[in-house]
Every structure is written in structure tokens, then in C-alpha cells.
């Protein structure tokens, strides 16, 4: 039976049919009919942000921490353009978002009307797909397609632009079951012969390594379990990208830590020297590979990815398998168990030299840092934060920069979906709104945004959102008064010319918190850090924690640009060595 509904009613019926609980948004002229309808229904709750970009990142945090799509509703023109950063961020990090934008009425499109912009044109390169709905009878179908495309295959953001007159017009609601997208059929299973080839390489390898990424998170919670089974079945070492942290327990002995530009010594050396690399759901990003021509020169490479275009894009591989990480890893486990019963113990001897080598690299203790009793070291702050929160199911978001890398290095995750960070786009300002989205989805959990004092100011307005909805997010600022990563690069590569990377004026973060109606805490001394962190955790309200850290700490270890994985520098001592040898650095 078909019903006549208004466009606005169709939107909310469709959202309800997709089990949407929350939307993040901001009203405006071109979405007033939708906001009118919003208040007339009870199923879907709306989180009013303070800036559209915040809505986008909040939806990303919601999506990443739940595995469900994040929903955004914003107005035309500036509402839409303010969403561009969040859409691009979600596109780079494969986060499913459904963004609904209002548009000026159909008859005004193309006339440069008030708050008109070419939303589908602007967002075409930063969405997986987008639509301008010109016929109310196409609206339901378009929304269903949008959900399908956002959440299946390689997830990503989609956008539906709805002119205001379409929101008023009456049309037919079409249910989700009848929708087919001819040209869009993501491949989940993976080619059986390629999987067999991969297993043969695994059986022969003497120096293997698993290199896993965000694709494992996106393949669902089960995928992390299957990954643990695969790693345990093989006895191979495993490293993870920034996005993949949490899929494998950070404190497990087979885990070598994160790899890449600020990855551990053992992870990067193992990647360089391995004879078999098994990439599951990672994409050979340039922060991972370093110089591509020097990237793991002697290894055979297996690449499992749901996105066929990721395979052979940056690094040519020997075996490429298109499909869902969960499904493929699970077949791999089955085949290994069937073909090579007791593989781990029978294969132990073959890879024992490899593990010995890895232990030697491990002894470098590349994440260690000096002790300081007078000032708080940022690494120490993250370490204490971890130790004091690891007894509960904690969700961490970050902004972008040094603090992000220290968080990735020193906070150990044991579960997926607990770590929300802007990896691909590197969006400063991501962390606070993302934390809000996470807290909305997990009201009883501890949610901490590990931030820098520069990044946090990019979306600080969302603290007002947190206060309004009583979302007790904790903003843990590693405050060194510098854009730390910019300063670090200027130190290493531009002769310490700290051009515009020092913030000569900063707010008093304690007073800022109070102005917003949140709690402010400040720590200056290492001795008071634990007490104050405990105080922060115990407060059931939003907190800004101003952690004053040493000003000119660099983030190590580090692969300098243009270098290979085995040419890492571990700290300032290495810099000097290199300088003397040939002024390669500084």
C-alpha cells in the first residue's frame, strides 16, 4: 500500500526505517520543513551542535565507535560548505556518514539565491556518492540507496541535497526492500584461488608480518576476533596502522606496536626486513611507507582490501584479494587449520630466528623517554592517563599533531572502536566533536579527547554542545603553547625557524571551561598529575584538563622524510650523530 507523505515526513520515516537514533545538525532556512517534522516525531533525537563542521565530526565519532552510520542534517549554502571538511575527513578514513543538506527551492536553483551553493558539485570529490533530489517520489529511494552505499563495501560519506519545495511536496514512500543499485554490488567473499595462494606464501614464510589497518575495524567487531585467531594460529608478529589500533590488543606479546612515521623501531624494521607482508585493510599510505622505492624491498606482499582500487595503487603486490576482511580472514583460518593442523607449533622453528631478531629491535625501547621530576613530559602524561583509565572501557579521540602520535604510541587499546582519530585528512578540531558523538552513543562510558592547545581551539565551540546535553567528555590538553608538530618539523628541517608556530596568546583554559559551564583543571607538576587525572575521571561533567607540558619535546621515534623504515631516528641523540656525519638533518 502506498502512502502520500510530505518530503519531510518521508525523510524521517526513512531514517526511522534505518534504525537511526540520533542526528547531529544545525537548522537554517532551507531545512525548516525538516526541523518542523523533527519536533513532531519521537523516534529520532537531534543533537544541536554549534558549527556544522562539529556535526560532521560528531557523526564520525558516533559512527566509528558504534559501527553504525552517522547522520547529519544541515542547511544550504554555508551549512553545506561547513560540512566539507568533515565529509572529506570521513571519505579519507572510510567512515559511513549520511549527510542531508537543505537546498534553495527548485525554481531558484541556478539563480544565485540567498544561501544557495552548488552542494552536489562542491561535495562530489569528497563523498562516495551524492544526489540532488528533484522529485519527491524519488526521495525515499534515494535515502535508501544512500544508506546502502554509505555502509557497504568500503564505507564512506554520502550526501543528499533536498530543495526546500521537495520537503513540502507530497509523494509516495517506497520501502527499502525494493531498492536495487545495478552498478553497485560490493564484493565480500574474496577470490578462493587468491586466498589459496596467500596461504601458500604464509606456509613458506620465514620472516612474516601482519600489517593491519582501519579496514579491520570497518569489517565489524567479529573481524577483530578473527584477526586475533589468525595471528594466534600462525604465531606471526603483527603491527597496525594508526586507524587499525585496537583490533589487536596493544599489550599482547605478538604486537609490535604501530608502524610508520612515528611507529616503533621494531615494527618498522620488521616491515623493512620481512619476507612476507600480509596487509589486511590498510592502504600503503605515505605516512606508513616512507620512501616507496625503499619500502620493504625483499618481501612478497599480500593485500586484502574491500576497495579494488587500493590494490596496486601505491605498492605493487604479489597477491591481491578484494573482499571483506572478516570473511577472508575467516577462510584463511579455516584453510590453515585444515591444511596445516598445529601450524603454530610446527612452524615455530622456521620463524624463530625472525622472532629473535625482533626481540633485538625491541630492546631499543624506542618509545622510552627520560624521567623528569620538574616538568610534565607529554609522553608521561599520556602514559599516566592510560594507567589510570585502563581499568574501564575508555574511548579516546584525538585532535591532530604531536599529542595524537603520543596518544597512539602510549595509550594501549584492547578493543576496536575505542580509538577515534583523523588519520587520512589530519583534521585539527576533529577530537572534541568526535568525543561528543562517541559520548552520545555511549553515555555511561569514559570518553577522553586527547588534544593539543592549538587543535582544541578549532572546534572549541562544541563544548557548549557537551554542556547542553550533559555529555561528560574529558578534554585532556597537552599544552606546550606550540603547534608542536609544525615546530618539530621546523626544528628538524627548517633550521629552527619557528615561523608562526608559537601561540603568543592562549585562553586560560580553566576559565574557558568555566565560561562554558564545564569544569577546568590544571596540572603543572608531575607530582600532582595522578591526583588531578583521578579528579577529572570522577567528575560527571565535561572537563577541560589543561596539562602544562614541556614546551619543546619532539615526537620520536621518527622516520625522516625520504628515508626507509630501517633509517629511523630514535631521539635527539640520533639527530646529532646524523649532523656530524653529514649534516643530513637540521
Amino acid at each position: 500500500m502506498s502512502m502520500e507523505l510530505t518530503g519531510a515526513e518521508i525523510v524521517f520515516k526513512a531514517l526511522a526505517d534505518h534504525q537511526v537514533e540520533y542526528i547531529f545538525g544545525y537548522p537554517g532556512g532551507a531545512v525548516l520543513p525538516l526541523y518542523d517534522q523533527l519536533s513532531k516525531q519521537k523516534k529520532i533525537k537531534h543533537i544541536l551542535v554549534r558549527h556544522e563542521q562539529g556535526a560532521g565530526h560528531a557523526a564520525e565519532g558516533y559512527a566509528r565507535s558504534t559501527g553504525k552510520p552517522g547522520i547529519v542534517l544541515v542547511t544550504s549554502g554555508p551549512g553545506a560548505t561547513n560540512m566539507v571538511t568533515a565529509l572529506t575527513d570521513a571519505y579519507m578514513d572510510s567512515i559511513p556518514l549520511v549527510c542531508i543538506t537543505g537546498q534553495v527551492p527548485s525554481h531558484l536553483i541556478g539563480t544565485d539565491a540567498f544561501q544557495e551553493c552548488d552542494t552536489t558539485g562542491i561535495t562530489r570529490p569528497c563523498t562516495k556518492h551524492n544526489w540532488l533530489v528533484k522529485d519527491v517520489n524519488q526521495l525515499a529511494e534515494t535515502i535508501h540507496k544512500a544508506f546502502r552505499i554509505a555502509t557497504t563495501g568500503r564505507p564512506g560519506p554520502v550526501l543528499i541535497d533536498i530543495p526546500k519545495d521537495i520537503q513540502f511536496k507530497k509523494g509516495i514512500y517506497k520501502s527499502n526492500e525494493k531498492i536495487e543499485i545495478d552498478s553497485y554490488q560490493p564484493n565480500y567473499k574474496g577470490d578462493a584461488t587468491e586466498i589459496e595462494k596467500a596461504i601458500e606464501l604464509i606456509a613458506q614464510a620465514k620472516k612474516p608480518i601482519f600489517y593491519t589497518g582501519g579496514g579491520v575495524v570497518n569489517a565489524g567487531e567479529k573481524a577483530s576476533e578473527t584477526l586475533r585467531e589468525l595471528v594466534s594460529t600462525t604465531g606471526f608478529p603483527i603491527t597496525s596502522t594508526l586507524q587499525g589500533l585496537g583490533c589487536y590488543p596493544g599489550e599482547d606479546s605478538q604486537f609490535l606496536g604501530m608502524l610508520g612515521m612515528h611507529g616503533t623501531y621494531e615494527a618498522n624494521h620488521a616491515m623493512h626486513d620481512c619476507d612476507l607482508m600480509i596487509n589486511i585493510g590498510a592502504r600503503f599510505d605515505d605516512r606508513i611507507t616512507g620512501m616507496v622505492s625503499k619500502f620493504s624491498p625483499g618481501s612478497k606482499k599480500i593485500h586484502i582490501d574491500i576497495d579494488a582500487s587500493s590494490i596496486n595503487k601505491v605498492v605493487k603486490v604479489d597477491v591481491g584479494i578484494v573482499g571483506d576482511a572478516q570473511s577472508i580472514m575467516s577462510s584463511m583460518v579455516d584453510i590453515i587449520k585444515k591444511k596445516y593442523p598445529g601450524f603454530r607449533s610446527s612452524n615455530k622453528e622456521k620463524i624463530s630466528d625472525w622472532w629473535k631478531q625482533i626481540e633485538i629491535w625491541r630492546e631499543k625501547k624506542s618509545l622510552s623517554f627520560r624521567e623528569d621530576k620538574s616538568v610534565i613530559l607529554p609522553q608521561y602524561a599520556v602514559q599516566r592517563l592510560y594507567e589510570l583509565t585502563k581499568n574501564q572501557d575508555t574511548f579516546i579521540t584525538t585532535e591532530v599533531g604531536q599529542h595524537q602520535m603520543w596518544a597512539a604510541q602510549h595509550y594501549k587499546f584492547s578493543k576496536p572502536n575505542r580509538w577515534m582519530t583523523s588519520g587520512g585528512l589530519g583534521t585539527m578540531g576533529y577530537g572534541l566533536p568526535a568525543a561528543i558523538g562517541v559520548q552520545v552513543a555511549h553515555p555511561k562510558r569514559l570518553v577522553i579527547d586527547i588534544a593539543g592547545e592549538a587543535s582544541i581551539l578549532m572546534c572549541i565551540q562544541e563544548l557548549s554542545t557537551a554542556v547542553q546535553y550533559r555529555l561528560p567528555v574529558k578534554i585532556f590538553i597537552l599544552n606546550n603553547e606550540y603547534m608542536g608538530m609544525v615546530r618539530q618539523w621546523q626544528e628538524l628541517l627548517h633550521d629552527k625557524n619557528y615561523s608562526e608556530s608559537y601561540s603568543e596568546a592562549l585562553p586560560d583554559f580553566v576559565k574557558l571551561a568555566e565560561a562554558y559551564g564545564a569544569i577546568g583543571i590544571r596540572a603543572d607538576k608531575p607530582a600532582e598529575l595522578d591526583e588531578k587525572i583521578k579528579e577529572m575521571i570522577s567528575v560527571d561533567r565535561p572537563v577541560i584538563f589543561d596539562c602544562r607540558v614541556t614546551k619543546e619535546e619532539n615526537c620520536y621515534p621518527m622516520i625522516p622524510s625520504g628515508k626507509a623504515h630501517n633509517e629511523m631516528i630514535l631521539g635527539a641523540e640520533d639527530e646529532e650523530v646524523i649532523t656530524e656525519e653529514g649534516k643530513v638533518l637540521v
Binding site: 552498478s183 605515505d286 616512507g290 579494488a308 595503487k313 591481491g320 625520504g562 643530513v584
Partner: protein, 187 residues
């Protein structure tokens, strides 16, 4: 050490010319998606032709002449296949044994009787079809390979050649073979 956080470009591989064909849903914005993909990812478009080829299924065929290293050509195809309204993609290397390549050109000549007479002779030599004639001008149509049209233009240029429009090359595989579905596959 480089002063960049990115690695340096070391590609010295040879560029090859190729014609890429994509079968797409004939819907609003699809051409912008395809053209935007090329500009956004730094690929080159030499020429582009697009028209609906299957009214019933609402399918258009987009033909793009481009160039790139082997890896780039593979990436162009892979990225095109990633677009939702793209059904399948093919590339035609410039190999006359395997494929047919044709381009349509309309060319106008303007001049006095003496000049036009010489121009006409070249057109006849190249088997051009005369579409319009006045005492001061004529238009011919050429349906040929790109290089032959280039050759014609070079020869005819001094004889009143006034205006040219070209469709860009179209391509089709020879023999009974057609292009198979390759959506979601490694190329």
C-alpha cells in the same frame, strides 16, 4: 634530506597513449564525476566524447583519450570503477590489430575560387565528404584515424582552412569480443 614530509617524485617511466571507455548510468552529474576524477587526481584528458548508447537501460558510453604510465592507466580504470554509476571500464591501447579507432571531423574552407579549387583537390584525395557548398566556402566531413586527420589539416591549412571541429577518437575492439564486466575486480 628533503625538506618535505612527502617523498620525491622519481617516475621516469614512459607515458603511453590510451583510450579509456566507461559505461555509465546516464544520470545528472555523471560526466562531472568522471571529468572531476581526472582533474582531481591529476590525470590528463586529451579528448572526451559521450553519448547515450542504450536508451532502455539508460546507459551512456564515455570515451576518453588520455596518457599515463602503465600504473597510472591501471589506477584511472580502478578509480573509475569505484564510482557508483560506472558499470564497466575498458582501455584500448593504440593497436590497430586489436581495435578500430575513428574520429569525426567537420572542416570549413573559405576563400576565392582559386584557393577553394586547390583545397577541394586535397579533400578529394583524402576522401572527404562534401556537406555544404557556396561560391565562397565549403564544409567537408572526414571520418578517419586521428593521425590521418592531423595529416589532412597540415596539408590543407594554407588553402583557406577556416574552422575545425573534431569529436575526439572513438574505439571498439575488433572481432567478436566485447568488454566483460570488471566492477570490483583487480585490473
Amino acid at each position: 634530506m628533503s625538506k618535505s614530509a612527502y617523498s620525491t617524485d622519481i617516475t621516469e617511466e614512459k607515458l603511453e597513449r590510451v583510450i579509456i571507455v566507461a559505461w555509465v548510468d546516464n544520470e545528472t552529474g555523471v560526466l562531472a564525476r568522471v571529468a572531476g576524477l581526472f582533474s582531481g587526481r591529476g590525470y590528463n584528458i586529451e579528448s572526451l566524447a559521450v553519448a547515450e548508447v542504450d536508451e532502455e537501460r539508460n546507459i551512456s558510453r564515455i570515451t576518453i583519450a588520455t596518457n599515463g604510465t602503465k600504473l597510472v592507466i591501471e589506477q584511472i580504470k580502478a578509480q573509475l570503477l569505484k564510482l557508483v554509476p560506472v558499470h564497466k571500464v575498458a582501455d584500448f591501447k593504440i593497436d590497430l590489430d586489436k581495435s578500430v579507432f575513428k574520429e569525426l571531423a567537420l572542416i570549413k574552407f573559405i576563400g576565392d575560387a582559386e584557393v577553394l579549387k586547390q583545397a577541394e583537390q586535397i579533400c578529394v584525395d583524402f576522401k572527404g565528404e562534401f556537406l555544404d557548398k557556396t561560391p565562397q566556402s565549403f564544409i567537408i566531413q572526414l571520418v578517419k584515424k586521428r593521425s590521418e586527420i592531423n595529416n589532412f589539416i597540415k596539408k590543407a591549412k594554407p588553402f583557406g582552412l577556416a574552422s575545425i571541429t573534431r569529436s575526439g577518437p572513438l574505439a571498439m575492439s575488433k572481432g567478436s569480443e566485447t568488454i566483460k564486466d570488471n566492477k570490483g575486480k583487480i585490473l
